[in-house]
Symmetry: none
Subunit: 234 residues, 4 copies
Amino acid sequence: MTRAPATPAPRRAVRPGRRPGVRAAAAQATRDAILRAATRIFAKHGFDGGRVDQISKAAKSYDRMIYYYFGSKEGLYIAVLEDLYRRFNEAESRLALDLAQPDEALAEVVRFVWNYYRRNPEFITLLNTENLHRGRHIAKSPRAGDYSSPAVRVLGDVLERGVERGLFRSTVTARDVYLMIAAMGYFYLSNRYTLSAFLGERTDTPEAFARWEAFIIDAVRRAVAPPDVLPPRG
Amino acid sequence: MTRAPATPAPRRAVRPGRRPGVRAAAAQATRDAILRAATRIFAKHGFDGGRVDQISKAAKSYDRMIYYYFGSKEGLYIAVLEDLYRRFNEAESRLALDLAQPDEALAEVVRFVWNYYRRNPEFITLLNTENLHRGRHIAKSPRAGDYSSPAVRVLGDVLERGVERGLFRSTVTARDVYLMIAAMGYFYLSNRYTLSAFLGERTDTPEAFARWEAFIIDAVRRAVAPPDVLPPRG
Amino acid sequence: MTRAPATPAPRRAVRPGRRPGVRAAAAQATRDAILRAATRIFAKHGFDGGRVDQISKAAKSYDRMIYYYFGSKEGLYIAVLEDLYRRFNEAESRLALDLAQPDEALAEVVRFVWNYYRRNPEFITLLNTENLHRGRHIAKSPRAGDYSSPAVRVLGDVLERGVERGLFRSTVTARDVYLMIAAMGYFYLSNRYTLSAFLGERTDTPEAFARWEAFIIDAVRRAVAPPDVLPPRG
Amino acid sequence: MTRAPATPAPRRAVRPGRRPGVRAAAAQATRDAILRAATRIFAKHGFDGGRVDQISKAAKSYDRMIYYYFGSKEGLYIAVLEDLYRRFNEAESRLALDLAQPDEALAEVVRFVWNYYRRNPEFITLLNTENLHRGRHIAKSPRAGDYSSPAVRVLGDVLERGVERGLFRSTVTARDVYLMIAAMGYFYLSNRYTLSAFLGERTDTPEAFARWEAFIIDAVRRAVAPPDVLPPRG
DNA sequence: CATGAATGAGCTTTCATTCAT
DNA sequence: CATGAATGAAAGCTCATTCAT
């Protein structure tokens, strides 16, 4: 008989409608430890480079438990991605802006995104890994559709208010501005190692970071500034 | 251990100071075929995910030849990166701009970078892979220092001319503008798969590409526009 | 990336149209040693019970070589079955009978089958294992159709001659007689271990074997004897 | 080693000398469900191929219960074999023959065995599996000796009566006739999958089954017919 | 008795690499 | 230079079994 590669049904740690007891809490702890370890190791080595036993060891658990809770290496990786998206969305949801000051609120969005990337470097490497795989794994997640960014909506409110007050031009979309913010922060951090070769200088000193943050804010403010402030071509 | 032994001295295909004969030409062809195949496969699967025998098969050669020419899987990967940088720098060097029209020249730089990324998708995935590994491999390349971007210098010339003519502000650096251009193009293409989940829309249609290119050009023009055109904060 | 379970193309040891050199001969020896070891071990422990590393060790080779030559455990098992059928058919083909003495020739067929089973116990256990799996593996063999028994044809000749001479009845088919011969020999040997429990006696002494052989011959002779010799029912 | 520890004392479901209560009945049901599931799965996949958790799942119970009731996988397998023998012996015991008609009674025995095999295919595959293991498991059963076949005794009576009446020859033993009956039925069913390859025809149609049953009956009648009816050799 | 979690050995298979013509 | 065979470590995954409520 050949081995059946069909992934067995993985256990969800806590069943709904049941108060978790001591056992269940311990189980949840095991599951969480594996998930955290996997996040770290997949972020560091990618999906192919991340070894199952490295993860289980880092979680002070056993290979077997990975299959018990997540069904397969891929199942674990998908769970890591889902958790990553969830945490990012949660963080974005907590973003509280003063809409009365659109220009400052805009800067605040930039700072939020930039700082999130800086404080969660695994966010970047995991997304890169997933994009290397052409989104194959996240596509398998049943929750793949739930992850549309709250920040884009918030940013839409900010822009709208700014337009009303004549501070912003009306021809930019929240989507494009959000992408710009994300791009400038993400790329700088994501590609810092190869950038050194291209630029011939350090890009990861506190001063360099601060300078780049200021540059992003400035560029974004200019991008949304009313159109008539731009000089004619030439 | 057979897996990671001391790397033996790899052969360079064509020894300098010797006219290549028929044999040497065949050898060069083999070497090139391997390099091309490796570029494709490492770009698709990453360093860990790319299999040696997949590469040798794709090159219609043999595993053994990879070790003959490149010493090891890592040696091959480094050669791929060097070749990648070299080709990119060559392309940048061919960039001919009309400095008499700084604003148009600036847009031309954006278009060049954006199109290079679009036409060479393996450039992006290979750089991402290398950054995942924290630049570990390219650091081993003896030619690592040679790759500072010609485009940054050219862009410096463009900006300088624009400032002279009062078209650009004098407080932005070529480095920052170049990073901005690169970031906005790179990120959009690199992260297209996960962006779908975040944005809930296609980002890879011809129209979407055209729109984003226009947005980048506009944002960059605004970033370098004289400072006094920006409205006061509020 | 998930592991690709697709079986790679296994090597045939000696390519046609090429005189085997020293290397090829050694390779063939390796392949043969694995095949022999696998025959022994699958016969002893079944397909599931037979361990890959047990086989490679018994063949004084390496696990890896099994995959090199046979692609997978299942591929090896199929090769074992093909070899088993081939050897049996070859042995049957060598069966030389004196058709001038149909009665003696018939007994000779019984002795041949019985002795083949006795001398090749792995033939029985391997067939049993394959039948446990409902013929799943042999069905995958491209040579599955080539194994119709030569002995049935030979037996047909014997019966025909006997009928002509009035020694045998004309209403039995070679197929049925062959099945009878095979059944009585095969079952006795195949089930000898559980038969002990049923019968409460040894069935594997030389005397017991000789007695059973004589009984089969007698029963088969009676089965083909002319119909009018049978007494009426009662 | 966790894999093959000393077998702990398994529980018998219902202790003798105690009226089973509700709990005991539920326990018995669990035990029976496991036994039935195990019979099915060991019959289908053999001992090595049958998975403990496949069995517990099929029985809608838990792995743990198998160890509770049967001590180990092997203990369960032995229980399956014991149950198999017991049921077969019970069925044989229910065999009621009209000794006044020995010839018909003989045919009845053939029909009984043949139909039992046909209706209980797991009987065959489980016996084959046990014979593959050289009777290792059944030898461990404390009840191994109790299973001598009632049918052999009954068959002895039939033959004796037939001899008295001059219908059968006196030189055949009940054992040999029983083996002949068993062999011809068992082999035909057990080896049906590989027989297709040898014979190049279907062996499992209703017509083929009926023909073979008739052939067995005829062959057995001829085997026990008085010796003088056989023609001289030639 | 039932049930979820834990355990660690061992399984099949794959990998990068080297040997020997 | 090319090519088939060999090598051994290690990968992902599964197994029977036990622990602890």
